[in-house]
Symmetry: D2
Subunit: 365 residues, 4 copies
């Protein structure tokens, strides 16, 4: 089916394979009048760019974005914004057993079962490069949100056993450490841990979080389109994510109600919560507090260690995956989580504008 679109009013459609000619996205439903240029997009793409550190794949891609439509005289027109990144570093090589083997932890086998065959070059459509389009679109969403005073910020929470210390949250570190942790000391420990994993020819899992500041109360819907349900889908649609939490997440299942409920109180004439176990959502609708999404990411399935698997002919074979792959997915996925969250929140806000009759009346009268 058509599974490459996301969103209802602010809707994105991504396309492209790891080793095809290009990757891109069409952003439809962006409001007219937003100042937008390629640099706005490029700064987001650079955060997921390969080749930037020792833990990112050595594939070199400039990932230069081109805006092909939807912007006129420096502003969005309200019509689709088409953006494209050409692939430049598709090394032409013999894919050999990759073409015929089912790599454990990858989608090779399931693609063949679904489609009958697959583009085996670098994972094709199931490659992490698919997220180029998401990030380009998310950069647009984030810029719209910023106009309403809303900030979306994701970061690495943990790598293997190393946790970032959030008490001394260092927002600047997110953009300048190779791990995207908000904690320089943890970043250093994590880098050492990753070096060990690389030496063992293995890979490592981790977790990341995304915060949304400034979101007003009242966004989201009470039943199937709960804001947290859509955030969970948004996160889980990123490859390799196997678990999603909102607010205190898993911890709530071991807790008593008296400890888990967030008491309401007044502050400067506004209703606020004394705590935020809920992560900013009550009954599927934002409560005015900080949104918090946490995602758990599996280790990179491509490892140099020899693994047992089967090939398309149904033979059991041993496989060692050479080539360019990261020992960890998380640091480069952080900006993807941030972008998917931004898109989800913006779409929910757009859908919310007609929730009250008085809003319609004010708007149109």
């Amino acid at each position: 089916m058509a599974g490459s679109s996301y969103g209802t009013i602010f809707r994105i459609t991504t396309w492209g394979e790891s080793h095809g000619k290009a990757l891109g996205v069409v952003v439809d439903g962006c409001p007219a009048g937003l100042p937008l240029c390629e640099e706005d997009i490029q700064s987001y793409l650079n955060r997921r760019k390969p080749g930037a550190s020792s833990i990112a794949t050595q594939r070199k891609e400039d990932d230069c974005v081109e805006i092909l439509s939807g912007v006129f005289e420096g502003r969005t027109t309200g019509t689709p914004i088409s953006m494209m990144v050409r692939n430049t570093s598709q090394i032409s090589r013999d894919y050999g057993n990759i073409a015929s083997c089912y790599r454990p932890g990858h989608a090779d086998y399931t693609f063949d079962q679904k489609y009958g065959f697959r583009d085996y070059r670098g994972g094709g459509r199931s490659s992490g490069r698919e997220t180029v389009g998401r990030v380009a679109a998310g950069a647009v969403a984030a810029k719209v949100l910023s106009r309403m005073g809303i900030t979306v910020q994701a970061y690495t929470r943990s790598i293997g056993p190393i946790e970032a210390d959030l008490e001394h949250f260092d927002a600047k570190a997110i953009l300048c450490t190779p791990t995207a942790m908000p904690d320089r000391a943890a970043d250093e420990r994590a880098m050492a841990y990753l070096e060990g994993a690389k030496k063992r020819q293995d890979s490592v899992g981790g977790s990341m979080e995304c915060r949304v500041y400034g979101l007003p109360a009242g966004i989201g819907d009470p039943v199937f389109e709960k804001l947290d349900a859509n955030l969970a889908k948004a996160a889980m649609s990123i490859g390799a994510i196997k678990a999603v939490e909102i607010g205190d997440g898993f911890a709530v299942s071991k807790r008593c109600g008296s400890k888990n409920n967030d008491a309401f109180r007044m502050e400067n004439g506004h209703v606020v919560k004394s705590t935020n176990h809920a992560g900013g959502v009550l009954g599927g609708i934002s409560d005015g507090d900080m949104l918090l999404v946490r995602a758990h990411v599996k280790p990179t399935p491509s490892i140099y260690l020899t693994q047992s698997t089967v090939n398309q002919s149904g033979e059991e074979v041993d496989l060692s995956i050479h080539g360019r792959h990261d020992p960890i997915i998380v640091p480069r996925a952080v900006v993807v989580l941030e972008c998917m969250t931004a898109i989800t929140v913006l779409d929910a806000m757009m859908l919310n504008m007609s929730a009250r009759l008085e809003s319609l009346e004010t708007f149109y009268n």
Copy 2:
């Protein structure tokens, strides 16, 4: 917005409030020719019915379902199946401070922020009774799936600190223990634990799992409509769920790739996996193994203990919630998770039928 529909081809639309006249669902897109009667639905509804044990709300509702359309001479016609349950036990009483106070952990405040006012009787649309429609629809989906040899089974995994022992999985216990655990010994311990919580006028969280047996490989989509992304949304759309895991879930973030990858091997001429850390999904597409979804549920927010909160006039007040409420949500939510999973899987299967050109050619030639 219109947030009460779910699914694309097999699409359900639920309606109704806790203390309104009735609750119901319209199931659209059900294939024609399925034998269906009210008893098929009733047996599912009975699993979520209140009043069945000491840990379920003492509200007595028969929850008798009436099929109003879409079935002719005992079989579905392919047109919408409308099902309704009349509310019979809306105790007419003074809602007093509930009408004006924002109950902590509930959606009272967020509803007011979104809609400007709310149906305060028993939580209105954000009540657990909203799931009546989901369960009626899920019963239909499960019956369709059973025709293709697919079984969906949910159960309580843990209540507070008490975990069910899955090594000696007792499927029969799920339907006959008050906790819906597949482990009678754990059920007894959990019941004792719940009695303690009730005495403390408090409530308790827990977790549940859902398994899908018999799902063929190749179902789901590679990007936004990943099967696991939709399962996560399906689960997270159930009130009070704060975290969702697929397969080994959050454990993967602490693991190495060599331990997390599931090796492929041949068994009786079929490709199988030696382990199932992935929970039956690779790259968003089913791999032929058992699907596993896990959901973490917060403690019932309604507790008898006094809590601090504010009212609609912006005054800080103390609140003690009387009335009928469960000390734990999980046991009655198990069938809801099962039903949401069934609907999600069936819809994905329907959407998958045109994935290959040869399927279209075979179907229409």
Copy 3:
């Protein structure tokens, strides 16, 4: 597939068959705060009610609507509004050859081809009674529109060769003549014409128009979701409609550009058009002028005259259709066109609120 829902933000889902237990609709996405009671709906349903005149089927149905959810203390809550009408006049009879024959001009054969069998009682889901749900939903949409000064008005334009004179448009006549024409003289001539058709045991076609007054400029979208494209779909989705025109419609294909273009001019400081050949839409977007939709309706396919057809066993047979059927469809379809137009326009207005960045900024800041 799930084809019984319509609309994106204001979304309706209808259900029910001609001779089933009941018919109904779920209206999702209606803004909160609209005063609404059953009488608001009933007055619309009465306009399509059978048994009201000599040209309407003699089937007697009270079509009493019951609001089951979504309204609290006299106002909509923003959650789904479920409305139901019980069927009371399903005469239990021998459907005999109707059950096995394919009536010409009806959907009997195509239902069997699609679904494998069908509810043959009175046309089942393809009966005109299916529109009960559309009309109940349209009454809600029309009430919302009226709050923004927008009026939707449909009427019969022609019956067979008899055309209403629109120069002396008599709006009151629409609701009190049996033909729903805005012209009492034409109504009388049309009634005489219809009596002749009844005597010949035949049926008659006709046309109807729908006007929308007060719609602001700027509503609709430029590509696939053109306002006129959606109005065309809305109209054509009503059974028996075979052609749809916007503004001057068919006539434009014989015209020169210099005669077809509507000149712009200023009036009281506002941009207006000197003529309205376009019917209120330019490039898919409303231009502030009156919207005009015209629909052409085929003659009732059920006639008393003997017709040639085949039955399910593949035998050629003669068929004479007895029972209760109108000699013309148009007068009772007028309110359906009005309702489908109202729903379409309201949904387009809701979707339009985020078209400009400044609207979002104003709304949320």
Copy 4:
């Protein structure tokens, strides 16, 4: 809103403006395994290419398509097919009063009302060039349909007062006459008529038809997603179309039931209709007969004759539109109607595969 996508399973998303860098489309949901190359697409694009005859705009565009994704080793992979055409002939010029004036019959005024400003170069997104993406996508749909023995064929029915003679339907003439009429004599008369219009500095309207051969019975849905309703939307979403007919269309409103009903009879063991007034659809579902859609197209709104209008400052001005524009829209719109019809029919067929339980059982067991 996001109005640039069309279709549910086979879903296309178009982008691009008349004088932007490029135009394109993403085709999502195309079945895997279809042989596809750029030439398949190019042959369709050539049919709508400007500069091909004296009645087509003298703008020269090669409209060379590039396939950017979704095809591997010559076959579609089931993932999005991104296709792009670079604009090469955007003459850089002073748009002068076009930039500030509202051209009669164009979307200039309505774009400004909706979005607050617009890309005024050549009509921007509301230009006929927007259909490049539709045609590229339709070429793919048509190729899939051809694999199931289904042919879609559109042609010009009339230009001004000149009608093609369909009794002696000359299919080859469609592709080689400048008018795209299936009648060489009418083509010559129409060309003479168009020369006259050009001399008068005026433009001309016309009509076109689309036929679908080989469509099996049973495709489409009975209520809102009627096949004819979707075909009407598909057609009306093409710029300048003001009326749509199915089968005998507006003629039915003057007809009696006994003349309009198509009798069923047996032919070689199959149910067939003796006539096809219905145009191949009964109750929204295909009946196995030839589908027939007719669309009426307004005259090109851009004319050299001086017209009265207003500008953005609210001043009344005289306007004469210079530049490159066709005296008639129809001949180049024919392939667009054909493509929109192909997309609509294919999507309906894909959605139909799960209409019966037995189809699901056969597919998955």
